[in-house]
Every structure is written in C-alpha cells, then in structure tokens.
Symmetry: C2
Subunit: 203 residues, 2 copies
C-alpha cells in the first residue's frame, strides 16, 4: 500500500490527519506539484484525473478522492470513529463534512487558485472575479460556523470527525488564499485552537 502525497497541498493533508487520528502509518511517495508531476504522462495510470492524494493498494488498484481514501480506512478500522457511529451521527457527519467542503474549503481553494501568482500555470485562466466572490463566501461560512460552534464542541456534535478535519485544513488554507477571518468569531477561534492542538494537526 502506498499514498501519493504532497506536503504543500490541502487535500493530502486531510488524509494524513485522518490516518494520524487512526494511528495508521503507510508508505508515502511525494508528487512534486511545482513540477506539475501530477499532469505528467506517467501519472495517468495512477489517476487519469491528475489529482492527489491517491492510495495505491497492493493489488495495484488505485483509489483517489481524499474522502474515499479516508472512508476505506474507516471501514477497515472503525476505531476511533471519524464518520459517526449510528445512522443519525453518520448523516450529521456527512452533512457537516459536505458543508465544510462545499461552502468553505472550495471557496477558499477557488480564491487561492484564481488569485495566487503561484497558480498561474495550474489554473488557466485565472478569473479575478472568482477571488472577489469567494472570499466573502468563506468568511460568511466562518461566521455561520461560529454560531454553530457556540452550541457544541465540534462541527458534527460532541465527537471529533472528518468534518473537523476538512474545516481545519480549509481554515489553515485561508492564509495562502489571503483570507482573514474576523477577530470576533470567538467560538470559531476556540474550535480552531482546540483541533490545531491535536497531534494529528501536524501530520
């Protein structure tokens, strides 16, 4: 088993945090995104969609999509549960993981990809309007999260989950995307400090 990884991209970080929480260690191979290795012809056999992370199984089969890779390990080793335990918890975790991804991670990623000079070669064309549209979306979602985190410890309830991993990775990715969150979001800041202090955050 092998994980195609990158120390600079946010999606592989989701998988690394997930594996650290599970206490699972697997070999990794770094894909150099600065050299566009994920777009090189040789990588097409690993993932024709030219994205990382990718998990290569011993059979040679490859699994892409961070959340699919995480779910594979959740099913192999359910403890600690990071996708919820019963039907209702699983639905809440799925809802919050998706909200964190679609309404927070993606707007931040779009602001980065369409606004950062380092992405000129990767994102053609860069559309300045998308930066201006997505920055306030990310901030609005942080504000909404703040109101939710006033009511409970983690995004999907009292237990840390994959939804927190997605939201933490997105929050940290806001810095290179040049998005600053308002100082008054005290519950959001409390949650951020708490999840950032877990050993997995530095995985």
């Amino acid at each position: 088993m092998k994980l195609y990884d990158s120390p600079v991209a946010p999606n592989p970080r989701r998988v690394r945090i997930f594996l650290a929480e599970k206490g699972i260690s697997i070999p990794r191979e770094t894909v150099d995104l600065a050299k566009l290795e994920q777009k090189a012809p040789g990588f097409a056999a690993v993932n024709p969609l030219q994205r990382i992370p990718v998990l290569e199984l011993d059979s040679g089969e490859t699994l892409s999509e961070s959340i699919a890779i995480c779910r594979y390990f959740e099913e192999l080793q359910p403890d600690p549960p990071l996708f919820g335990r019963d039907p209702l918890e699983k639905a809440r975790v799925e809802m919050w993981q998706r909200r964190a991804e679609l309404e927070f991670f993606f707007p931040i990623a779009l602001a980065f990809r369409h606004g950062h000079p380092a992405m000129v070669e990767m994102e053609k064309p860069q559309i300045a309007q998308l930066v201006e549209l997505n920055k306030p979306r990310a901030i609005a979602f942080a504000r909404y999260l703040d109101s939710e985190l006033a009511q409970r410890r983690y995004l999907a309830g009292d237990a840390f989950s994959i939804a927190d991993i997605t939201a933490l990775v997105a929050t940290d990715f806001a810095r290179p995307a040049r998005i600053a969150f308002p100082d008054e979001l005290a519950h959001f800041a409390r949650w951020r400090a708490e999840v950032s202090a877990r050993p997995s955050a530095s995985a």
Copy 2:
C-alpha cells in the same frame, strides 16, 4: 418525517431516485424555487444555507445535503446497498460518486447557473467565462466515463450505486445547461439508456 423537495432542481431528484430504489416513501413538501422560497426568512429554520433538499425528522432535527440524506436511509435500510457492501466497494462508490459530482455534476450546474436566463436572479453575477470553461469540462468527463463504462456495467462496478444516480441526474441536467454530448460515446449512451430505463429514474 418530511422531505423538502422540488420537481425542477437536480439535487432533490437524487434523493427521490435513491428512495425509489430503496422502496421507501415519505411525505414531501414542495419548495417553490421560482419564488425563491428557499431564501425566504421562514426557511432559515429548515436550512440556514438556503438549499434543498432537506429531510425533517420527527424530532424536528433537519438534515440537508442530498448525499447525507441518502446515507441516512442507507444506514437505516441497507438493502439494496447503494453505497457499496465491503470496505473496497464502499471506497470505490465514494470515489465515483465524488468524481461524478465534482467533475461532472458541478461543471454542468455551473454552466446552467451562469448561462441560463432563468438564473439571473439566483446567480448574481452570472459569469459568462464560467459557462465556456465548464461546458468542455463536462464533455471531457463524459468521454472519460465512456472509456470506463467500456470495462464495466456501472460507474463503481457491477452494481448500480449512488454514483450512477449522481451521474444520471447530471447527464439529464446537461440539457437545460445546453451541453450536448458527442454521439460517438457508445458506452456512455448504453449506460445512460440502461439507468434511465429503471423505474426509479422517473421518481
């Protein structure tokens, strides 16, 4: 239990097809998107993110996000399995459901939302460049799907799954988005005819 639904939007259709495949029937309430009812103050208690579908439980708790709603029912009633059966199948289904959503459904939805005159009030501002960028992305993914569907019956393997539901809903949504798929994609066309012929497709 009640489902907030719309006969015209693609996401609620995903849930209706899923429930039809499971043989589950629940009361529905139509939200009039043409009147922007999902943005009315009264709807904020149902989903502050102003989206449908939403599942309201008997406890009053609400679950949004189509895939979270589907997963709730999958966990309550595992047969027939639509998210896979074992760890590897579940990972493959998750991977293909995400690919179908992120690389196919979303580009088609963006082309629709930024290009269709009916969306002028919903999508402010409409960005013409996003229509031109996303139409070829959707067609490229259909071409990729065609090559994959040459090798197996459904997106994630030999069994129909939530990934096929997302891909079917996206394929049909290409019409109002004014995206035409190339005629030569014979395997894609075979798959489309097959999944469209299932009774659930008209749910």
